[in-house]
C-alpha cells in the first residue's frame, strides 16, 4: 500500500491518515468500504441486468418489454423485488429446514466470493491472490453444492431430479472450463489475476488463445445455466428444476444469483481473454480501467442475452455428449498444442519478455499461436464433416419413439 495520499479513490487509507485518523483505523475503514462496495455492487447491478435481459429478449421476440414503471420500465424490477419480498415464505412439509434455508445463501455467496479476486483497475482488487484463477474455479464449485442442497432439502422428487441433472451438467462442464483456463496461465506463467491482466497489455489473449476463449465462453454458458444449456430451469420437462419449492425472496435469491453468475462469468472472460482493465490511459487513471472492464464485459454479455433469446434448449444427452465427446477432447489437444508451440517459440527466441507492453513485440508469437489455433479449428471442422458424411451414407435406421425416450432418460 502506498503511503502517500494521491486522491481518495486510489489511496483511501493514506488519505484518511492524512486527515488525522489513526493508521490502523484508516486501514480498517478502507478495507471495510472496499468489501462493502465489492459485495454490494453485483447485488445492485443485478437489478439493471434483469431489466436489460427482459428488454433484449423482448426485442428479439418483437415485443416492447417492461415499459410502464419508470422511464423505459427501469423500475419494473424494483417493483418485482418488492413483490418477492412481501410474498409469503413457504417451507414445504418434510423439508430439511436448515439446509433448505441455507441453500440460496450458499448460492449467492459462491458468486459474490468470485468478485473478491477480480481486478477492477490497476490498483483496485479485493485480494490479489497468487492463485486467483484457481480460486475462481474452487469458489464456483461451491455453487454446485448449493444446487444439491436445494434439490435435496425441498423434499420434492422433481426438485431432486432437477438438481441431479444440473449437478451432472455443472460438474461435466467444469472440465473444459479449467482446461481452457490453462492456456492463459501458460501464456502468463502465473495464476494471479493482476499478472494475467498485465501480461495482456501488449496483446489480448483472445488472439493467441482463440480456441480456448471459445471453449471458455461455451462452458461458461453451461456453468451459469444460460442459453442452449438452461437445463437448470427446464420448465417443460421438470416443472422448474431444483428451485421448484422455493418462493418469495428465497427464490429471488436464486434468480438474482443466476443473473449475477452469468455476468460474473462474462466479467472473467473479459479479464482473462480481453485484457481486463487495460485500455488507453488505464495505467494513469485507474478509474478508467474499471470503465474499460465494464465496457468489455457488456460487449460479451449482450451477445449471450441475444443467444439466450434465440436458441432452443438442447436435450440433456446432446448436451452431455457435446461436452464429453467434443469440448473436452478439443480442450486437451488445444492445451498440448499451445504448450508445444510455446516451447518452440521460446527456442526461437520470439517470446516477448514479461511486462512488455509493446504490441509489435507480441506479434510473432501471436501469429504462430493463431496459426496453430486455426489449424486446430480446420482439423475439427474436417473431422466433423467426415463424420457427418459417414452418418449420411450409413442409411440411418429411423429410431422408434420408445428407443428415443430411453436415450433421453439416460
Amino acid at each position: 500500500m502506498q503511503a502517500t495520499c494521491v486522491d481518495v479513490i486510489e489511496t483511501l487509507a493514506p488519505c484518511l491518515t492524512a486527515g488525522g485518523l489513526d493508521p490502523g483505523i484508516a486501514q480498517f475503514l478502507s478495507i471495510l468500504i472496499g468489501v462493502a462496495l465489492v459485495g454490494l455492487f453485483p447485488l445492485v447491478l443485478v437489478i439493471l441486468l434483469i431489466w436489460l435481459e427482459r428488454k433484449i429478449a423482448a426485442r428479439v421476440q418483437d415485443r416492447w418489454g417492461p415499459n410502464r414503471v419508470g422511464p423505459f420500465g427501469l423500475f419494473q424490477n424494483l417493483a418485482d423485488a418488492v413483490k418477492l419480498i412481501i410474498k409469503e415464505d413457504i417451507t414445504p412439509a418434510g423439508a430439511d429446514r436448515l439446509i433448505y434455508n441455507l441453500a440460496p445463501i450458499v448460492a449467492v455467496l459462491s458468486t459474490i466470493l468470485i468478485w473478491a479476486a477480480v481486478p477492477f483497475s490497476p490498483v483496485h482488487i479485493g485480494a490479489d491472490l497468487g492463485i486467483g484463477l484457481l480460486y475462481f474455479v474452487a469458489v464456483s464449485s461451491i455453487g454446485t453444492l448449493s444446487v444439491m442442497m436445494a434439490g435435496w432439502a425441498s423434499n420434492n422428487k422433481y426438485a431432486l431430479l432437477g438438481s441431479f441433472r444440473v449437478v451432472a451438467q455443472l460438474v461435466s462442464y467444469e472440465i473444459p472450463l479449467v482446461l481452457a483456463l490453462l492456456v492463459p496461465v501458460l501464456l502468463t506463467g502465473s495464476m494471479g489475476m493482476q499478472d494475467l491482466v498485465r501480461a495482456q497489455q501488449g496483446m489480448w489473449f483472445i488472439v493467441p488463445g482463440f480456441v480456448s476463449a471459445v471453449i471458455f465462453y461455451i462452458s461458461n454458458l453451461a456453468e451459469t445455466g444460460r442459453a442452449p444449456f438452461d437445463m437448470i430451469e427446464a420448465e417443460s420437462e421438470l416443472v422448474a428444476g431444483y428451485n421448484i419449492e422455493y418462493s418469495g425472496m428465497k427464490f429471488g435469491l436464486f434468480m438474482a444469483n443466476e443473473f449475477m453468475h452469468a455476468f460474473t462469468a462474462n466479467l472473467l472472460f473479459s479479464v482473462i481473454f480481453l485484457g481486463g482493465w487495460s485500455g488507453p490511459l488505464a495505467n494513469q487513471v485507474p478509474v478508467l480501467g474499471f470503465v474499460w472492464l465494464m465496457v468489455k464485459t457488456f460487449i460479451v454479455y449482450i451477445p449471450s442475452l441475444i443467444l439466450r433469446a434465440t436458441i432452443p434448449r438442447v436435450r440433456i444427452d446432446q448436451m452431455m455428449s457435446f461436452n464429453w465427446k467434443f469440448l473436452v477432447p478439443i480442450a486437451i489437444v488445444n492445451v498440448i498444442m499451445i504448450a508445444f508451440l510455446l516451447q518452440i517459440i521460446k527456442a526461437i527466441g520470439w517470446l516477448p519478455e514479461p511486462g512488455n507492453t509493446n504490441f509489435f513485440a507480441h506479434v510473432p508469437m501471436a501469429i504462430i499461436l493463431l496459426v496453430g489455433n486455426l489449424a486446430l479449428i480446420a482439423a475439427v471442422v474436417t473431422m466433423l464433416r467426415n463424420a457427418g458424411r459417414r452418418e449420411r451414407q450409413a442409411e440411418p435406421v429411423p429410431a422408434s419413439d420408445d428407443e428415443r425416450a430411453i436415450v433421453a432418460v439416460h
Binding site: 484457481l134 453444492l145 449437478v167
Partner: protein, 175 residues
C-alpha cells in the same frame, strides 16, 4: 505464550469448524447431514492451509475435496435412497474402525509431538520452513528429475488406471 491476535482467533474458528464438522460426521444419523458436516470440516482444513501460507493447497482442498469428492459422496448417498433413512449409528465393524482411528491418531500425535519436544529438544522459535514455497516451486518440484517426478508419474498412472477401470465397469455389456 499464546497471544490473542487475528491469527489465533482465525485458528480457533477453523479448529472449531474442522473438529465440530468431524464430530457431526460421526454422530449424525442422516447421511446427507454427515456429508454436509464433512464439507464444513474440510473447509476448516482449507482455512488451516491459508494460515500456514499455503494458499494453493487451500484452494485445491476446496476444489478437489469439497467441489468434487464431497459432491460425489452426496450424489451417491442421494441415489441410494435407503441409506438416507438409516437409524443405526454403529454397524458390525465399529470396533475395527475404532482401532484404525485410534492408531492413526497416535501416529499423527507422535509425528507432531516428537519434533517439538522430542530428541532434538524444544525449539519453540523454529520456523516451519525457511522459505515460503510458491506455486511455481510446487510445479517445478513435481516435474524435476531430482525431486518428485517419479511419485507424480506413478500417481497419474494409477489415476488413469482407475479411470479406465471405472469406464469398463460402468459400460453396458450389451454394446
Amino acid at each position: 505464550m499464546l497471544e490473542l491476535n487475528v491469527q489465533t482467533i482465525a485458528f480457533l474458528i477453523f479448529a472449531i469448524l474442522s473438529l465440530g464438522g468431524a464430530l457431526g460426521v460421526v454422530t449424525s444419523r442422516n447421511l446427507i447431514h454427515g456429508a454436509l458436516y464433512l464439507i464444513v470440516s474440510l473447509f476448516g482444513g482449507a482455512g488451516f492451509f491459508v494460515l500456514l501460507s499455503a494458499p494453493f493447497i487451500a484452494v485445491v482442498q476446496v476444489l478437489v475435496y469439497i467441489g468434487a469428492i464431497a459432491i460425489l459422496i452426496i450424489f451417491a448417498v442421494m441415489l441410494t435412497r435407503s441409506m438416507t433413512g438409516m437409524r443405526e449409528l454403529f454397524n458390525r465393524q465399529w470396533w475395527l474402525s475404532a482401532i484404525v482411528g485410534i492408531l492413526l491418531f497416535l501416529l499423527l500425535a507422535i509425528a507432531v509431538i516428537l519434533p517439538v519436544w522430542g530428541a532434538n529438544g524444544s525449539k519453540p522459535n523454529l520456523p516451519v520452513a525457511d522459505q515460503v514455497a510458491t506455486t511455481q516451486d510446487l510445479g517445478v518440484a513435481l516435474v524435476d528429475g531430482n525431486q518428485y517426478v517419479l511419485p507424480f508419474e506413478v500417481a497419474s498412472l494409477l489415476l488413469t488406471g482407475a479411470m479406465i477401470g471405472a469406464i469398463v465397469i460402468a459400460r453396458d455389456t450389451e454394446d
